[in-house]
Amino acid sequence: MADRERRRTLRDWREQLRRDTTAHGGHAGGPVPAVARWLDDRLGLAKGTRALLRKPFPGHWSFLIGEIALFALVVLFLTGTFLALFYRPDTRVVTYEGPYLPLKGSEVSIAYESMLRLSFEVRAGLLMRQIHHHAANVFMAAVVAHMFRTFFTGAFRRPRELLWVTGVALLILGIGAGFTGYSLPDDLLSGTGLQIAYGILLSVPLVGPFLAFVLLGGELPNPDVLGRLHILHVMIIPGGLVALVTAHLAILFRVRHTQHPGGPRTDRNVVGKPMFPTQTMISGATFAATVAVLALLGGLYEINPVWVYGPFEPARVFAPTQPDWYVGWLEGVFRLWPAWSIHLFGIVVPQPFIPGVVVPGLIFTLAILWPWIEVRWITHDREERNLLQLMRDNPVRSAIGTAGLTFLTVMFLAGSNDVLAALFVIHLENVTLTLRTLLVVGPPVVGWLTYRWLTRLRRRDVEEARAAPRGEPRSRSA
């Protein structure tokens, strides 16, 4: 009886709601679920949520790149959790007795064995592993693309400097996550990356040996290092990622999106589709599309086949050794930097210190400080800016951007100088020499060309605007 009673009440309420919304000029759509009323009785959310429903979101395809990064990160967390249930950060050696015949009877670490078990024995384990690795690549690619989009359109200007800073911090953490993950399988490749990290830590003047021993637990290989990388990879770095993403989104929510100029859009308004239903569905579609592409890659595109690389053995290595692409540019500086080690008052500044610590440190510092550098030396613009720019609107910034991009591209290529040499059948020394030259000459040339091209475009815009009748919008904003 009570049940029927309650059902009737609910029906009445829905009916009432429908009448109310129609009376107030709204659509007589589906009724709000009872759970919403239950929640509102306890939390009083209706007023705030109503505003949220109709919050406008400026739309442009390039605004989805950041969302792709976010969704790839969600996939990384989900697949990573699954992997963590099977992975064992243990360097003790066992005899492999699993189903992968080429390694049967080999002496492998428990960590490596757990990777083989994940790949060959856990159902859907290989899919999870491969989706995880692909998602890491997609995450980093989306973060980098998002960063360049933000840079070239001036989306980092006041009031969005904090978004820029948290974004660069996310990029750095992402590289850290990628590197620690790369080292976990304890295969031949991962051990090599770790060895290089040890060499870089060791190179820091005065504190290097101490740092290397404290962070990595001593000379490599040692029994502690995998456990430490594991905790970094599954707890400390993800914690930082969650904190930074939360901050990034909260700040975004407060300062709201930028928008491209044109139509009714100005610096003092927000024009776009409402959060509900359109933006929610577009974001949902972006999420589904991201997962779909990652699933396809994970299922069909083999990545990091650790069983081919074989278990880690300290005195073995294979050529060519290649880092993941987002570490490639760091590796590139490392390969191009000349054989200079500095001796000062009996203290050695080893060769790896400058390309391994100083150069990346400078690049990231410049990146983080860019919004302030630009205001201080280029634009002197301290106003709030909510309209995006074209590259030609700020030719100096764009020229510095393309120069930087050239610099990174050359460094990235240098990270594969041995592969390039083999591919084009040229001497490695010639590849290195060419890339060194390009690294010095390329950025200024590209920057100068960009500047010339953009100022010419801008001049043409001005002439067209002058030729057009007054009040006519400029062609690009039409």
């Binding site: 899919l127 569905m281 779909a292 299922g299």
Partner: protein
């Protein structure tokens, strides 16, 4: 617009596409379920997961972009900063909260605040101490390896080596006996005819036709894995440092600045190769006090 037959047709078609895509997503999920229960197959799992999510993506896109097609909303965007009145009110509230019920004078409060900062900093420093539990300072460890005078050279299999078994042109990874697989001690035993050695260079060619170098690259510590016999060059595959064996492993190209340290060789009464001591210099990447530290 409701009566427009073209719009009507578009809506019908879009509904069909979105509906079909949602059904495809269902098919994908069922397929995934079947494959999983049947024992799993990475490729099919990926394909069906792709269908499941791809169908949803297509359906949502069609629904949001074609069926709903809302007009843009326009909202004013006030400047980010709070109004002057709000800022003043905040400042007032803060000052009042700080001072209204605190009888201390301004200077005493400043003293207390400074002591609070001092206490906070010292506590932070104390909390940092467990950091030092993470590893012992390296001490002499960086200056020595497991080699000592009399250690026999053994291969990966643990087998000792007789000098007459290493032909000119041969290269062999060796370890001190009892420490097979120890990275820092790994060394390369190279057979090379004495005529090829460049005169005037200091070699530890204490056994005719044999040289032994650390296998750990002096740049970043990768194993120096490649040897080109015809030019007697060792190459590190990580950053392409090249070492000339006939010039005591002097670096001839690439980023490194230091030759590979040599291991002094000897032959024991049993006729097996032994080391006459540790490497002449610390192995591996450089560090700041590599020139001033001592071996323990």
């Amino acid at each position: 617009m409701a009566g427009d037959p073209r719009a009507e047709r578009t809506i019908r078609r879009a509904t069909r596409v979105a509906g079909g895509a949602f059904l495809l997503a269902v098919v994908g999920s069922i397929g995934l379920f079947v494959v999983y229960v049947a024992g799993g197959n990475t490729q099919l799992e990926g394909l069906f997961l792709f269908l499941a999510f791809g169908g949803g993506a297509v359906a949502l896109t069609v629904w949001a972009k074609i069926l709903i097609d809302e007009p843009d909303l326009i909202e004013e965007r006030p400047p980010m900063h709070s109004s002057d009145a709000d800022r003043a009110a905040f400042e007032h509230a803060y000052l009042e909260a700080r001072e209204a019920h605190d009888p201390a004078t301004r200077s005493r409060r400043r003293l207390l605040t400074r002591l609070l900062v001092l206490a906070g900093l010292s506590l932070t420093a104390a909390l940092g101490l467990p950091f030092f539990s993470l590893g012992a300072p390296p001490g002499a460890a960086l200056f020595r390896t497991k080699w000592s005078s009399g250690s026999r050279l053994v291969g990966f299999g643990g087998n000792p080596i007789r000098p007459e078994h290493v032909n000119p042109g041969a290269v062999l990874t060796v370890f001190p006996e009892g420490h097979v697989g120890d990275g820092e001690s790994s060394a390369l035993l190279i057979g090379i005819s004495p005529q090829r050695l460049r005169p005037g260079v200091a070699f530890m060619d204490t056994v005719q036709g044999l040289l032994c170098f650390s296998k750990i690259c002096t740049h970043a510590g990768c194993p120096v894995g490649l040897y080109r016999e015809e030019v007697a060059e060792l190459l590190c595959p990580c950053h392409q440092s090249k070492f000339k064996v006939t010039e005591a492993a002097r670096p001839i190209s690439g980023p490194t600045t230091r030759p590979l340290p040599q291991l002094p060789l000897g032959v024991n009464p049993g006729g097996f190769l032994i080391a006459l001591g540790d490497f002449e210099e610390p192995v591996g990447p450089e560090f700041w006090n590599i020139r001033r530290g001592r071996r323990g």
